[in-house]
Symmetry: C2
C-alpha cells in the first residue's frame, strides 16, 4: 500500500477523573473532577495546545447503571450535561471542535437542531453532534416508558430524527439575513424555508429560530456498530466513533464502512473513522506496564463483577464464586456478540473471574513509551484501520499532558499530525465539505 | 410607610440589538448582534461591572411569529438558545446570575432538571430557571401537536413538571459524594434518593445524574399573570418577572402575590417581584424624548399593524385603513384582558391606528435623565410596587453602558443598590434561603 498523504484526526475524550474506571482513586488523578468546570477547562486548553481536532463527550440521560453498590465505586454517577458543558468550553477555547453526544431516543428533533445550531454559532463553527440511540433502559424510565425502545424502532426513529434535524438546519439560506438598516428589512422572507415535516415518529413544522449554522450543518458523528448502525453511519456519519480491539477487526470495519459509503455515492474520505484507544505512557515499557497495573489493582471486585455481569447478562450473580477460579457454566443469554466474544476469550486464555473482569475493565490499552504509542498510531493509520483516534486518557489532568508533551511532537515530526490548525471551523480542520442547503435556489 | 432597608434587585434583560422592536435599525445599535457571542459577552461584562443580580433571557421554541413579512422587519427571527448561551456566559463571568427561560409545555422534566443543575455547577451556583408555559401555538407545531395545550392543562402540567424537577434536584444529599480514595467509595448509596414519580403527565424514575446543585435548587423564576399563573407563583416562585404599566397596578399585583405567599406559609420577602422597564436616557429630558422618538419612527407600519393585530386578534387585517385615522369597529374577539385594555386606551385617548401601535410597540418606557430614571426606580421601590426591576435596554451595547455608568452610581449613592456582590451564589445575592433537601435525614 502507498503511504497516506492525509493526517491523523484526533479526538480528546472527556471523562471526569479519567477514562479508567478506577482512575479517581489513583494518586495521579483528581478525585473531585466530575463537576469542576476549571478542571474541564484545563483539559480543553491542553487539548487545544496539542492541536486536537475535537473534544468528545459521551452521554447517558440517566444514572450510569442502577446497581448503586457497584456505581458507588466509580466517578460516573455525576457528570455535566454535554451541551451545557460544551457551550461553556466554547467560550474559553478558539480552535478545537466540540463533539457532544445526544440520543435520538429520548429527545425532540427541534430542541436538538436548535441547541447544536446555537452551539455552532457560539463557537464560530466548532460544533458536532454524536448521534446515539442509547443503550440502557434506565433512560426509558426517566421519560415515561417502561422499557427502552426496541433496537429496530430505535434506528428508524433515529433516521427520521436525523433527517428532521438536517432539514431544520436548512431553514435559512446562508445569505437570508440582510439586516439593511435603511430599508428596514432584517431578513429576506424568500430565503426562509418551512420544513413542514410529517413522518411516522415526528411532526415538525419549523422553521428553526436560529440562522443557518456557520458550518452549514454541525459535523455529524455516529457510534453504532450493528448492521442498522452501520447503514445509518454510511449514509450520514462524517466521523465514526468506533470500538475496535484488534487491527484486523478495525481494518474490516473500516473497509466495510468506506465501501458502504461509496455505494451510496459518498466520497469515502468524507467519513473519518476514529477508534477509541487508551494510552498508558511512561519513560520505559516496564514503568508503563507498572502504571497500568496500579490502575487495575484499584478496581474493587464489586465493580469488577458488575462489569462482567453487564456483559454476560444483567442477572448473573457471580459474587458467591472464587474470584481466582474459572467462570462457572453460565446460562445462555440474549446479549449477542459482545457476550460471546468474552466467553470465548475466557475459555481460550483460561482466565479466572478476576482476570476476565480486569480484561474488560482495562479496555483497549496501548502500554509503552511515547514512541511506542506513536508507532501504534502510525501502524494503524497506515494500515488503513482508521483515520485517527478518539483518545481515552486514563487519568486527568496528567494523562493528557503527557500525551500532548510527548506523543504529539513525535506524530508531528513524522508528518502524521498538524502543527497548526489549518481551518477556522471543525469541518475545515477535519477536511469535510460544507453541505449545501437543500432548499436554496442558486 | 417606613423606608425600606433592603436594596433593589436588578435583572439585565438580554435582547439581540436591543429591546426596542426597531432597535437594530438605529445607528446606536449593532444590527448583526443576534448570534454574535462577543456581543453578548460584552453585555454580560458590563452588567457584571454594574453589579446586576442577573442576566435574563426570554425564549420561544419557534419562530417569533409566523407572519414573515412583519417578522422580517425585526431582529427576532434568530437568537441563541438560552441554556447554551447562558452556559457560555457562565464561563466568562464570575458573579452575575444567569436566568434562562424554559417552557414546561414542550420539554421533559428530566432534561430540564439536568441542564439547570449542570449550569448551576458550571457557574458555581448562579443558575435560575424562568418557568414559563408558552403563549404561541407555533411552538406546538414544532412538537407534533396541532395546537397549543389549553391554558388550564398547561398550568397543571407546569405544576407537576415543577415538582418533578425539584424532586430530581434532591436526588443526592449535599454530602453524598465522599470520594474516599483509600476505601474506594465515591458516594454513599444511602444518600442517593430515587424519585419514582408517577403522576398524571409524567412518569420519571430518577435519580438525577448530577450532584445536588450548589444552590440546592437553582432559583425559580416565574412570569405568568393569570389566576393560575399567580397561584403557581405564590407557591413556588422566588423571583417574579412582572409586566406592570402603572404604579397602582404594580402595587396591587405586589400585594396580591405577597399575601398569597404568606397564606401559604411562605416568607413574602422570599419572593422578589421585578417588573420590566425600558429606560431611554440622555443628558436632558428633551434629548431623551427625542431619542425615544427616533426609535419609534423606525417602526415599519407592516410591523406596527402586526403588533396591533397580535393584541386585538390574529385575523384582524387593518392594512386597508388610514393609519392616521381611528381604529374601525373591531369584531369582538376572544383575546381577553390585554385586548380590552388596548381598545379602552384607544377610545379614551382618541388614538389613531398609528398612535396605537406605537404605544404598544413603545412598551413601558421611562424617558429622562439618569436622575429621572433613578427617581422612578426609587419611587416604585419605596411604594412597594416592586422589589427591583428587570431592565430592558432599548439598544445594545450602548443602552446598558449608559445605564451602568450613570444610573447605577446614583442608586448606589442613595443606598438603593449594592456596591459589591455580597454573596457567591445568585441565591445569596438575592437574599434567598438555600432550600433543604426533602429526602435528607438529619
Ligand atoms: C464507541 C461507541 C460509543 C457510544 N457512545 C454512546 C453514548 O455516549 N451514549 C449512548 O447513549 N450510546 C452510546 N453508544 C451506543 C450507540 O448509540 C448505540 O445505541 C449502541 O451501540 C447500539 O447500537 P448498535 O447495535 O448499532 O451498536 C455508543 C456506541 C459505541 C459503539
Ligand atoms: C413578563 C412575562 C414574560 C414572559 N416571558 C415568556 C417567555 O420568555 N417565553 C414564553 O414562552 N412565555 C413567556 N411568558 C408567558 C407565560 O409563561 C405564560 O405562558 C403566559 O403569561 C400565560 O400565562 P398567564 O395567563 O398566567 O399569564 C411571559 C409572561 C410574562 C407576563
Amino acid at each position: 500500500m502507498t503511504r497516506r498523504t492525509d493526517q491523523l484526526k484526533l479526538g480528546a475524550f472527556l471523562a471526569n477523573s479519567g477514562h479508567h474506571v478506577a482512575a479517581w482513586r489513583h494518586p495521579l488523578a483528581q478525585a473531585d473532577a466530575s463537576l469542576d468546570f476549571a478542571h474541564f477547562r484545563a483539559i480543553a486548553e491542553t487539548a487545544e495546545r496539542g492541536k486536537f481536532d475535537a473534544l468528545f463527550i459521551a452521554d447517558v440521560v440517566a444514572l450510569w447503571g442502577h446497581h448503586h453498590d457497584a456505581l458507588s465505586r466509580t466517578a460516573r454517577a455525576e457528570h455535566f450535561e454535554p451541551l451545557t458543558l460544551m457551550s461553556a468550553l466554547a467560550a474559553v477555547t478558539t480552535h478545537i471542535g466540540l463533539i457532544a453526544t445526544a440520543t435520538t431516543s429520548y429527545n425532540e428533533p427541534y430542541h436538538i437542531a436548535r441547541k447544536f445550531a446555537s452551539l455552532d454559532h457560539l463557537s464560530g463553527g466548532r460544533a458536532a453532534w454524536n448521534l446515539v440511540t442509547s443503550v440502557v433502559s434506565d433512560e426509558a424510565w426517566n421519560f415515561g416508558r417502561e422499557q427502552h425502545i426496541d433496537h429496530g424502532d430505535r434506528y428508524q426513529r433515529a433516521e427520521e430524527f436525523h433527517d428532521v434535524v438536517k432539514g431544520l438546519w436548512d431553514s435559512w439560506d446562508d445569505d437570508a439575513f440582510v439586516r439593511d438598516k435603511a430599508s428596514g428589512q432584517y431578513f429576506d422572507p424568500a430565503k426562509l424555508h418551512t420544513l413542514n415535516h410529517r413522518g411516522e415518529h415526528f411532526a415538525v413544522r419549523g422553521p428553526l429560530n436560529v440562522a443557518r449554522p456557520p458550518q452549514g450543518h454541525p459535523v455529524l458523528v455516529q457510534a453504532g456498530a450493528s448492521p442498522a448502525g452501520r447503514t445509518l453511519a454510511a449514509r450520514v456519519a462524517e466521523v465514526i466513533f468506533a470500538s475496535a480491539s484488534d487491527l484486523a477487526d478495525a481494518q474490516a470495519f473500516y473497509q466495510d464502512i468506506k465501501a458502504r459509503a461509496a455505494d451510496l455515492g459518498r466520497d469515502p474520505d468524507h467519513i473519518k473513522i476514529l477508534p477509541g484507544i487508551t494510552p498508558f505512557i511512561a519513560e520505559s515499557r516496564e514503568q508503563a506496564q507498572a502504571l497500568f497495573d496500579e490502575f487495575q489493582a484499584l478496581i474493587d471486585p464489586v465493580l469488577g463483577l458488575r462489569l462482567l455481569a453487564d456483559t454476560l447478562g444483567e442477572d448473573i450473580d457471580l459474587s458467591g464464586h472464587d474470584l481466582d477460579g474459572p467462570l462457572p457454566e453460565t446460562p445462555v443469554g440474549q446479549r449477542g456478540s459482545r457476550r460471546d466474544k468474552v466467553l470465548e476469550l475466557a475459555q481460550k486464555e483460561n482466565l479466572s473471574i478476576r482476570q476476565l473482569y480486569l480484561r474488560l475493565a482495562g479496555g483497549n490499552p496501548v502500554i509503552g513509551t511515547a514512541a511506542d504509542i506513536a508507532d501504534h498510531f502510525e501502524a494503524w493509520f497506515e494500515a488503513r484501520a482508521c483515520d485517527g483516534f478518539n483518545v481515552f486518557f486514563p487519568y486527568f489532568p496528567g494523562g493528557i499532558e503527557v500525551f500532548v508533551d510527548q506523543v504529539i511532537p513525535l506524530l508531528q515530526e513524522r508528518g502524521l499530525f498538524r502543527r497548526e490548525y489549518q481551518g477556522r471551523t471543525l469541518r475545515e480542520n477535519l477536511g469535510l465539505p460544507r453541505p449545501a442547503n437543500r432548499f436554496s435556489r442558486p
